[in-house]
Symmetry: C2
Subunit: 203 residues, 2 copies
DNA sequence: ATAATTTTCTATAGATCTATAGAATTCTTC
DNA sequence: GAAGAATTCTATAGATCTATAGAAAATTAT
Protein backbone atom coordinates (compact mmCIF):
# COMPACT_ATOMS: atom_id res chain seq x y z
CA UNK A 1 0.00 0.00 0.00
CA UNK A 2 2.68 2.44 0.97
CA UNK A 3 5.96 2.99 -0.83
CA UNK A 4 6.77 6.61 -0.09
CA UNK A 5 10.18 6.58 1.57
CA UNK A 6 11.90 4.88 -1.34
CA UNK A 7 13.62 7.79 -3.03
CA UNK A 8 11.91 7.65 -6.37
CA UNK A 9 11.92 10.88 -8.26
CA UNK A 10 8.76 10.44 -10.24
CA UNK A 11 7.13 13.49 -11.73
CA UNK A 12 4.52 13.43 -9.00
CA UNK A 13 7.10 13.41 -6.28
CA UNK A 14 8.90 16.32 -7.91
CA UNK A 15 5.62 18.16 -7.86
CA UNK A 16 5.22 17.32 -4.18
CA UNK A 17 8.69 18.65 -3.42
CA UNK A 18 8.02 21.86 -5.30
CA UNK A 19 4.70 22.35 -3.53
CA UNK A 20 6.38 21.82 -0.19
CA UNK A 21 9.15 24.24 -1.16
CA UNK A 22 6.63 26.87 -2.06
CA UNK A 23 4.71 26.60 1.18
CA UNK A 24 7.76 26.30 3.43
CA UNK A 25 9.27 29.34 1.74
CA UNK A 26 6.17 31.36 2.42
CA UNK A 27 5.30 30.28 5.95
CA UNK A 28 8.39 28.62 7.32
CA UNK A 29 8.60 25.00 8.36
CA UNK A 30 6.65 25.24 11.58
CA UNK A 31 4.27 27.85 10.25
CA UNK A 32 3.28 25.70 7.31
CA UNK A 33 0.86 22.87 7.75
CA UNK A 34 0.62 19.74 5.69
CA UNK A 35 -2.83 20.78 4.58
CA UNK A 36 -1.40 23.83 2.80
CA UNK A 37 1.10 21.70 0.93
CA UNK A 38 -1.46 19.13 -0.10
CA UNK A 39 -3.86 21.80 -1.28
CA UNK A 40 -1.19 23.37 -3.45
CA UNK A 41 -0.91 19.99 -5.15
CA UNK A 42 -4.64 19.66 -5.47
CA UNK A 43 -4.90 16.71 -3.13
CA UNK A 44 -6.16 16.29 0.42
CA UNK A 45 -4.04 16.54 3.55
CA UNK A 46 -3.92 12.84 4.32
CA UNK A 47 -2.85 11.93 0.80
CA UNK A 48 0.37 13.86 1.19
CA UNK A 49 1.70 11.03 3.32
CA UNK A 50 1.79 8.86 0.29
CA UNK A 51 4.76 10.95 -0.87
CA UNK A 52 6.44 11.75 2.43
CA UNK A 53 6.71 9.66 5.55
CA UNK A 54 6.63 12.83 7.60
CA UNK A 55 6.65 16.61 7.39
CA UNK A 56 10.33 16.52 8.27
CA UNK A 57 11.12 14.25 5.36
CA UNK A 58 9.45 16.79 3.12
CA UNK A 59 11.66 19.53 4.49
CA UNK A 60 14.74 17.40 3.97
CA UNK A 61 13.86 16.73 0.35
CA UNK A 62 13.18 20.39 -0.30
CA UNK A 63 16.51 21.47 1.15
CA UNK A 64 18.35 18.90 -0.89
CA UNK A 65 16.56 19.97 -4.01
CA UNK A 66 17.46 23.58 -3.24
CA UNK A 67 21.20 23.15 -3.22
CA UNK A 68 22.12 19.99 -5.04
CA UNK A 69 22.29 21.87 -8.29
CA UNK A 70 24.83 24.55 -7.52
CA UNK A 71 26.72 22.38 -5.08
CA UNK A 72 27.22 19.89 -7.88
CA UNK A 73 28.27 22.70 -10.14
CA UNK A 74 30.92 23.83 -7.68
CA UNK A 75 32.81 20.55 -7.94
CA UNK A 76 33.16 21.06 -11.67
CA UNK A 77 34.26 24.67 -11.28
CA UNK A 78 36.81 23.95 -8.59
CA UNK A 79 38.38 21.10 -10.54
CA UNK A 80 38.57 23.03 -13.78
CA UNK A 81 41.70 24.63 -15.11
CA UNK A 82 40.50 28.22 -15.31
CA UNK A 83 42.31 31.13 -13.65
CA UNK A 84 41.03 32.61 -10.40
CA UNK A 85 38.77 35.30 -11.79
CA UNK A 86 36.99 32.90 -14.11
CA UNK A 87 36.34 30.52 -11.25
CA UNK A 88 34.96 33.29 -9.11
CA UNK A 89 32.65 34.46 -11.85
CA UNK A 90 31.49 30.92 -12.50
CA UNK A 91 30.74 30.45 -8.82
CA UNK A 92 28.67 33.60 -8.59
CA UNK A 93 26.88 32.85 -11.84
CA UNK A 94 25.96 29.37 -10.68
CA UNK A 95 24.78 30.58 -7.29
CA UNK A 96 22.69 33.45 -8.61
CA UNK A 97 21.22 31.36 -11.40
CA UNK A 98 20.02 28.90 -8.81
CA UNK A 99 18.27 31.76 -7.07
CA UNK A 100 16.42 32.59 -10.20
CA UNK A 101 15.48 29.02 -11.01
CA UNK A 102 14.63 27.46 -7.69
CA UNK A 103 14.50 30.38 -5.32
CA UNK A 104 11.88 28.85 -3.09
CA UNK A 105 13.78 25.68 -2.29
CA UNK A 106 16.97 27.68 -1.84
CA UNK A 107 15.30 30.01 0.60
CA UNK A 108 14.02 27.04 2.53
CA UNK A 109 17.50 25.55 2.65
CA UNK A 110 18.92 28.81 3.98
CA UNK A 111 16.24 29.54 6.53
CA UNK A 112 14.83 26.24 7.70
CA UNK A 113 17.48 23.56 7.42
CA UNK A 114 18.41 23.93 11.08
CA UNK A 115 15.02 22.57 12.08
CA UNK A 116 15.92 19.20 10.64
CA UNK A 117 16.96 16.54 13.13
CA UNK A 118 20.67 15.81 13.10
CA UNK A 119 20.32 12.48 11.37
CA UNK A 120 18.65 14.06 8.40
CA UNK A 121 20.92 17.09 8.37
CA UNK A 122 24.18 15.24 8.01
CA UNK A 123 23.93 14.72 4.26
CA UNK A 124 23.13 18.39 3.75
CA UNK A 125 25.96 19.43 6.02
CA UNK A 126 28.34 17.34 4.00
CA UNK A 127 27.26 19.01 0.80
CA UNK A 128 27.29 22.49 2.30
CA UNK A 129 30.73 22.26 3.82
CA UNK A 130 32.06 20.64 0.66
CA UNK A 131 30.90 23.72 -1.18
CA UNK A 132 32.53 26.06 1.29
CA UNK A 133 35.79 24.16 1.32
CA UNK A 134 36.06 24.20 -2.44
CA UNK A 135 35.40 27.92 -2.51
CA UNK A 136 38.02 28.52 0.13
CA UNK A 137 40.46 26.44 -1.87
CA UNK A 138 39.84 28.57 -4.92
CA UNK A 139 40.96 31.60 -2.94
CA UNK A 140 44.01 29.83 -1.60
CA UNK A 141 45.07 28.81 -5.08
CA UNK A 142 44.41 32.34 -6.26
CA UNK A 143 46.76 33.61 -3.63
CA UNK A 144 49.46 31.19 -4.60
CA UNK A 145 49.14 32.10 -8.25
CA UNK A 146 49.34 35.77 -7.31
CA UNK A 147 45.85 36.72 -8.42
CA UNK A 148 44.64 37.32 -4.88
CA UNK A 149 46.22 39.76 -2.47
CA UNK A 150 48.29 38.26 0.35
CA UNK A 151 46.34 40.07 3.06
CA UNK A 152 43.05 38.44 2.06
CA UNK A 153 41.82 35.88 4.58
CA UNK A 154 40.47 33.00 2.51
CA UNK A 155 38.04 31.81 5.13
CA UNK A 156 36.46 35.24 5.42
CA UNK A 157 36.55 35.79 1.70
CA UNK A 158 34.57 32.63 1.06
CA UNK A 159 32.06 33.61 3.71
CA UNK A 160 31.79 37.04 2.12
CA UNK A 161 31.00 35.60 -1.29
CA UNK A 162 28.32 33.35 0.13
CA UNK A 163 26.80 36.19 2.13
CA UNK A 164 26.80 38.53 -0.83
CA UNK A 165 25.26 35.96 -3.13
CA UNK A 166 22.47 35.34 -0.67
CA UNK A 167 21.84 39.06 -0.23
CA UNK A 168 21.78 39.60 -3.98
CA UNK A 169 19.68 36.51 -4.36
CA UNK A 170 17.06 38.32 -2.33
CA UNK A 171 17.07 41.18 -4.80
CA UNK A 172 16.79 38.75 -7.68
CA UNK A 173 13.88 36.94 -6.13
CA UNK A 174 12.08 40.15 -5.24
CA UNK A 175 12.49 41.68 -8.69
CA UNK A 176 11.96 39.14 -11.47
CA UNK A 177 12.77 41.75 -14.12
CA UNK A 178 16.28 42.17 -12.86
CA UNK A 179 18.70 41.02 -15.52
CA UNK A 180 20.81 38.22 -14.18
CA UNK A 181 23.76 38.98 -16.38
CA UNK A 182 23.92 42.59 -15.21
CA UNK A 183 23.76 41.55 -11.59
CA UNK A 184 26.56 39.06 -12.04
CA UNK A 185 28.74 41.69 -13.65
CA UNK A 186 28.15 44.22 -10.92
CA UNK A 187 28.78 41.70 -8.22
CA UNK A 188 32.02 40.33 -9.56
CA UNK A 189 33.30 43.83 -10.21
CA UNK A 190 32.62 44.74 -6.62
CA UNK A 191 34.32 41.66 -5.28
CA UNK A 192 37.32 41.78 -7.51
CA UNK A 193 38.02 45.48 -7.39
CA UNK A 194 36.46 46.64 -4.14
CA UNK A 195 34.70 49.93 -3.63
CA UNK A 196 37.48 52.41 -3.80
CA UNK A 197 39.50 53.86 -6.61
CA UNK A 198 42.47 51.77 -7.51
CA UNK A 199 44.65 51.15 -10.51
CA UNK A 200 45.54 47.67 -11.63
CA UNK A 201 49.17 46.66 -11.65
CA UNK A 202 49.11 43.44 -13.54
CA UNK A 203 51.70 41.26 -11.87
CA UNK B 1 -4.91 43.72 36.87
CA UNK B 2 -3.32 43.82 33.44
CA UNK B 3 -1.02 46.53 32.15
CA UNK B 4 1.23 44.65 29.73
CA UNK B 5 0.81 46.39 26.39
CA UNK B 6 1.97 49.77 27.68
CA UNK B 7 5.50 49.92 26.38
CA UNK B 8 7.31 50.11 29.67
CA UNK B 9 10.87 48.92 29.59
CA UNK B 10 11.24 47.72 33.13
CA UNK B 11 14.06 45.35 33.96
CA UNK B 12 11.61 42.48 34.03
CA UNK B 13 10.28 43.25 30.61
CA UNK B 14 13.82 43.44 29.27
CA UNK B 15 14.36 39.99 30.73
CA UNK B 16 11.19 38.79 29.05
CA UNK B 17 12.36 40.15 25.71
CA UNK B 18 15.74 38.51 26.07
CA UNK B 19 14.18 35.21 27.01
CA UNK B 20 11.91 35.38 24.01
CA UNK B 21 14.85 36.29 21.79
CA UNK B 22 16.79 33.32 23.03
CA UNK B 23 13.98 30.86 22.40
CA UNK B 24 12.91 32.32 19.06
CA UNK B 25 16.51 32.25 17.89
CA UNK B 26 16.82 28.61 18.75
CA UNK B 27 13.50 27.24 17.57
CA UNK B 28 12.05 29.87 15.29
CA UNK B 29 8.84 31.75 15.93
CA UNK B 30 6.42 28.97 15.12
CA UNK B 31 8.64 26.27 16.53
CA UNK B 32 8.91 28.00 19.88
CA UNK B 33 6.10 27.79 22.38
CA UNK B 34 5.24 30.27 25.06
CA UNK B 35 5.99 27.65 27.67
CA UNK B 36 9.65 27.56 26.62
CA UNK B 37 9.94 31.30 26.93
CA UNK B 38 8.28 31.42 30.30
CA UNK B 39 10.45 28.61 31.61
CA UNK B 40 13.59 30.40 30.53
CA UNK B 41 12.44 33.28 32.74
CA UNK B 42 11.64 30.97 35.59
CA UNK B 43 7.90 31.61 35.47
CA UNK B 44 4.94 29.57 34.29
CA UNK B 45 3.45 29.69 30.81
CA UNK B 46 0.35 31.67 31.72
CA UNK B 47 2.33 34.34 33.54
CA UNK B 48 4.10 35.32 30.36
CA UNK B 49 0.95 37.09 29.25
CA UNK B 50 1.52 39.63 31.93
CA UNK B 51 4.39 40.94 29.81
CA UNK B 52 3.05 40.35 26.30
CA UNK B 53 -0.47 40.55 25.02
CA UNK B 54 0.35 37.81 22.54
CA UNK B 55 3.15 35.69 21.16
CA UNK B 56 3.27 38.00 18.17
CA UNK B 57 3.81 41.03 20.34
CA UNK B 58 6.77 39.24 21.87
CA UNK B 59 8.24 38.65 18.43
CA UNK B 60 7.75 42.28 17.53
CA UNK B 61 9.54 43.47 20.64
CA UNK B 62 12.42 41.09 20.07
CA UNK B 63 12.90 42.25 16.49
CA UNK B 64 12.86 45.86 17.55
CA UNK B 65 15.34 45.16 20.31
CA UNK B 66 17.55 43.38 17.80
CA UNK B 67 18.04 46.28 15.45
CA UNK B 68 17.23 49.51 17.24
CA UNK B 69 20.77 49.76 18.46
CA UNK B 70 22.67 49.71 15.21
CA UNK B 71 19.91 51.38 13.28
CA UNK B 72 20.14 54.28 15.72
CA UNK B 73 23.89 54.24 15.32
CA UNK B 74 23.58 54.54 11.56
CA UNK B 75 21.86 57.91 11.77
CA UNK B 76 24.80 59.30 13.69
CA UNK B 77 27.34 57.82 11.31
CA UNK B 78 25.58 59.03 8.18
CA UNK B 79 25.20 62.57 9.49
CA UNK B 80 28.78 62.82 10.66
CA UNK B 81 31.51 64.64 8.78
CA UNK B 82 33.92 61.75 8.29
CA UNK B 83 35.27 60.69 4.90
CA UNK B 84 33.86 57.66 3.10
CA UNK B 85 36.19 55.02 4.43
CA UNK B 86 35.68 56.06 8.03
CA UNK B 87 31.92 55.88 7.59
CA UNK B 88 32.13 52.44 6.07
CA UNK B 89 34.32 51.17 8.89
CA UNK B 90 31.98 52.68 11.46
CA UNK B 91 29.02 50.97 9.80
CA UNK B 92 30.66 47.58 9.80
CA UNK B 93 31.92 48.01 13.33
CA UNK B 94 28.48 48.93 14.57
CA UNK B 95 26.80 46.06 12.74
CA UNK B 96 29.27 43.41 13.84
CA UNK B 97 29.36 44.68 17.42
CA UNK B 98 25.62 44.25 17.53
CA UNK B 99 26.09 40.66 16.47
CA UNK B 100 28.38 40.04 19.36
CA UNK B 101 26.19 41.79 21.90
CA UNK B 102 22.69 40.83 20.98
CA UNK B 103 23.12 38.12 18.41
CA UNK B 104 19.97 36.27 19.36
CA UNK B 105 17.60 39.16 18.83
CA UNK B 106 19.39 40.08 15.62
CA UNK B 107 19.05 36.57 14.29
CA UNK B 108 15.37 36.65 15.11
CA UNK B 109 14.97 39.95 13.29
CA UNK B 110 16.69 38.53 10.23
CA UNK B 111 14.90 35.21 10.14
CA UNK B 112 11.48 35.68 11.67
CA UNK B 113 10.35 39.24 11.09
CA UNK B 114 8.34 38.25 8.05
CA UNK B 115 5.98 36.27 10.22
CA UNK B 116 4.75 39.45 11.86
CA UNK B 117 1.43 40.78 10.65
CA UNK B 118 1.75 43.85 8.47
CA UNK B 119 0.48 46.23 11.09
CA UNK B 120 3.24 45.31 13.44
CA UNK B 121 5.87 45.12 10.75
CA UNK B 122 5.50 48.67 9.53
CA UNK B 123 7.60 50.24 12.27
CA UNK B 124 10.36 47.72 11.68
CA UNK B 125 10.19 48.25 7.96
CA UNK B 126 10.58 51.96 8.46
CA UNK B 127 13.68 51.46 10.55
CA UNK B 128 15.16 48.88 8.21
CA UNK B 129 14.71 50.87 5.06
CA UNK B 130 15.98 53.98 6.81
CA UNK B 131 19.15 52.08 7.52
CA UNK B 132 19.49 50.90 3.95
CA UNK B 133 18.84 54.33 2.50
CA UNK B 134 21.45 55.96 4.70
CA UNK B 135 23.99 53.34 3.72
CA UNK B 136 23.21 53.84 0.06
CA UNK B 137 23.62 57.57 0.51
CA UNK B 138 27.04 57.05 2.02
CA UNK B 139 28.09 55.31 -1.15
CA UNK B 140 26.61 58.00 -3.34
CA UNK B 141 28.45 60.70 -1.46
CA UNK B 142 31.59 58.63 -1.65
CA UNK B 143 31.24 58.53 -5.38
CA UNK B 144 30.79 62.27 -5.62
CA UNK B 145 33.81 62.89 -3.44
CA UNK B 146 35.79 60.53 -5.63
CA UNK B 147 36.46 57.93 -2.96
CA UNK B 148 34.25 55.35 -4.63
CA UNK B 149 34.70 54.07 -8.16
CA UNK B 150 32.21 55.34 -10.74
CA UNK B 151 31.26 51.84 -11.86
CA UNK B 152 30.04 50.84 -8.40
CA UNK B 153 26.26 50.49 -8.18
CA UNK B 154 25.32 52.04 -4.85
CA UNK B 155 22.17 50.01 -4.42
CA UNK B 156 24.04 46.77 -4.90
CA UNK B 157 26.94 47.92 -2.81
CA UNK B 158 24.69 48.62 0.14
CA UNK B 159 23.04 45.24 -0.24
CA UNK B 160 26.46 43.64 -0.40
CA UNK B 161 27.60 45.24 2.83
CA UNK B 162 24.47 44.13 4.62
CA UNK B 163 24.76 40.59 3.27
CA UNK B 164 28.42 40.33 4.17
CA UNK B 165 27.89 41.66 7.66
CA UNK B 166 25.19 39.09 8.23
CA UNK B 167 27.39 36.29 6.92
CA UNK B 168 30.31 37.42 9.05
CA UNK B 169 27.95 37.85 11.95
CA UNK B 170 27.31 34.13 11.70
CA UNK B 171 31.00 33.43 12.12
CA UNK B 172 31.14 35.76 15.09
CA UNK B 173 28.20 34.14 16.78
CA UNK B 174 29.50 30.65 16.14
CA UNK B 175 32.99 31.36 17.43
CA UNK B 176 32.95 33.53 20.56
CA UNK B 177 36.73 33.59 20.69
CA UNK B 178 36.96 35.40 17.40
CA UNK B 179 38.45 38.84 17.98
CA UNK B 180 36.00 41.45 16.81
CA UNK B 181 38.65 43.99 15.94
CA UNK B 182 40.48 41.54 13.71
CA UNK B 183 37.29 40.62 11.93
CA UNK B 184 36.40 44.23 11.30
CA UNK B 185 39.84 44.88 9.85
CA UNK B 186 39.70 41.91 7.52
CA UNK B 187 36.21 42.74 6.37
CA UNK B 188 36.81 46.38 5.63
CA UNK B 189 40.00 45.53 3.82
CA UNK B 190 38.10 43.12 1.64
CA UNK B 191 35.38 45.62 0.86
CA UNK B 192 37.60 48.57 0.23
CA UNK B 193 40.30 46.85 -1.77
CA UNK B 194 38.62 43.81 -3.24
CA UNK B 195 40.24 40.45 -3.68
CA UNK B 196 42.73 41.06 -6.40
CA UNK B 197 46.06 42.82 -6.51
CA UNK B 198 45.78 46.55 -7.00
CA UNK B 199 47.77 49.62 -6.08
CA UNK B 200 46.16 52.66 -4.55
CA UNK B 201 46.28 55.92 -6.39
CA UNK B 202 45.18 58.37 -3.77
CA UNK B 203 43.07 60.88 -5.61
C1' DA C 1 -13.33 -7.58 -18.40
C1' DT C 2 -10.67 -8.95 -14.38
C1' DA C 3 -7.02 -8.65 -11.47
C1' DA C 4 -3.33 -6.08 -9.53
C1' DT C 5 -1.31 -1.76 -8.46
C1' DT C 6 -1.17 2.92 -7.55
C1' DT C 7 -3.11 6.92 -5.91
C1' DT C 8 -6.46 9.56 -3.31
C1' DC C 9 -10.10 10.03 0.05
C1' DT C 10 -12.51 10.28 4.72
C1' DA C 11 -12.39 10.19 9.46
C1' DT C 12 -10.09 10.38 13.62
C1' DA C 13 -6.87 9.60 17.86
C1' DG C 14 -3.77 11.78 20.13
C1' DA C 15 -0.98 15.56 20.97
C1' DT C 16 0.16 20.30 21.45
C1' DC C 17 -0.41 25.22 21.91
C1' DT C 18 -2.46 29.99 22.72
C1' DA C 19 -4.89 32.97 25.45
C1' DT C 20 -7.95 33.91 29.34
C1' DA C 21 -10.11 34.02 34.00
C1' DG C 22 -9.77 34.29 38.59
C1' DA C 23 -7.34 32.98 42.77
C1' DA C 24 -3.01 33.29 45.31
C1' DT C 25 1.14 35.33 46.39
C1' DT C 26 4.70 38.81 46.82
C1' DC C 27 6.14 43.52 46.97
C1' DT C 28 5.39 48.70 48.24
C1' DT C 29 3.97 52.36 50.74
C1' DC C 30 1.97 54.66 54.33
C1' DG D 1 0.94 45.63 59.75
C1' DA D 2 -2.83 46.90 56.68
C1' DA D 3 -4.22 48.58 52.15
C1' DG D 4 -3.18 48.65 47.60
C1' DA D 5 -0.56 47.39 43.56
C1' DA D 6 2.20 44.28 41.00
C1' DT D 7 3.38 39.73 39.80
C1' DT D 8 2.75 34.81 39.40
C1' DC D 9 -0.01 30.75 39.75
C1' DT D 10 -3.50 26.97 38.34
C1' DA D 11 -6.76 25.28 35.35
C1' DT D 12 -8.96 25.14 31.12
C1' DA D 13 -11.70 26.21 26.61
C1' DG D 14 -11.05 26.16 22.22
C1' DA D 15 -8.31 25.59 18.28
C1' DT D 16 -5.08 23.43 15.38
C1' DC D 17 -2.02 19.96 13.50
C1' DT D 18 0.37 15.41 12.50
C1' DA D 19 0.14 10.89 11.28
C1' DT D 20 -2.48 6.63 10.58
C1' DA D 21 -6.03 3.22 9.15
C1' DG D 22 -8.92 1.50 6.01
C1' DA D 23 -12.19 2.31 2.27
C1' DA D 24 -12.74 4.09 -2.41
C1' DA D 25 -11.41 5.45 -6.85
C1' DA D 26 -8.32 5.57 -10.73
C1' DT D 27 -4.79 3.52 -13.45
C1' DT D 28 -2.23 -0.21 -15.57
C1' DA D 29 -1.33 -4.89 -16.75
C1' DT D 30 -3.05 -9.68 -17.97
Amino acid sequence: MQQASAEKYTKQRQAAIRAAASVFAEKGFHGACTKDIAERMGIKQGSLYYYFKSKEEALGEVCLFGIQDYVGHMATIADSNQPFEAKLIATITSHLSSYRERNEALKVYNDERLYLPKARRSRLKELGSGYRQRLERIFEEGRISGAVRQSVDCHFAAQAVIGMCNAWGDLIVRDPDLDLFTVIQKCTDLLINGFTKKTTTTT
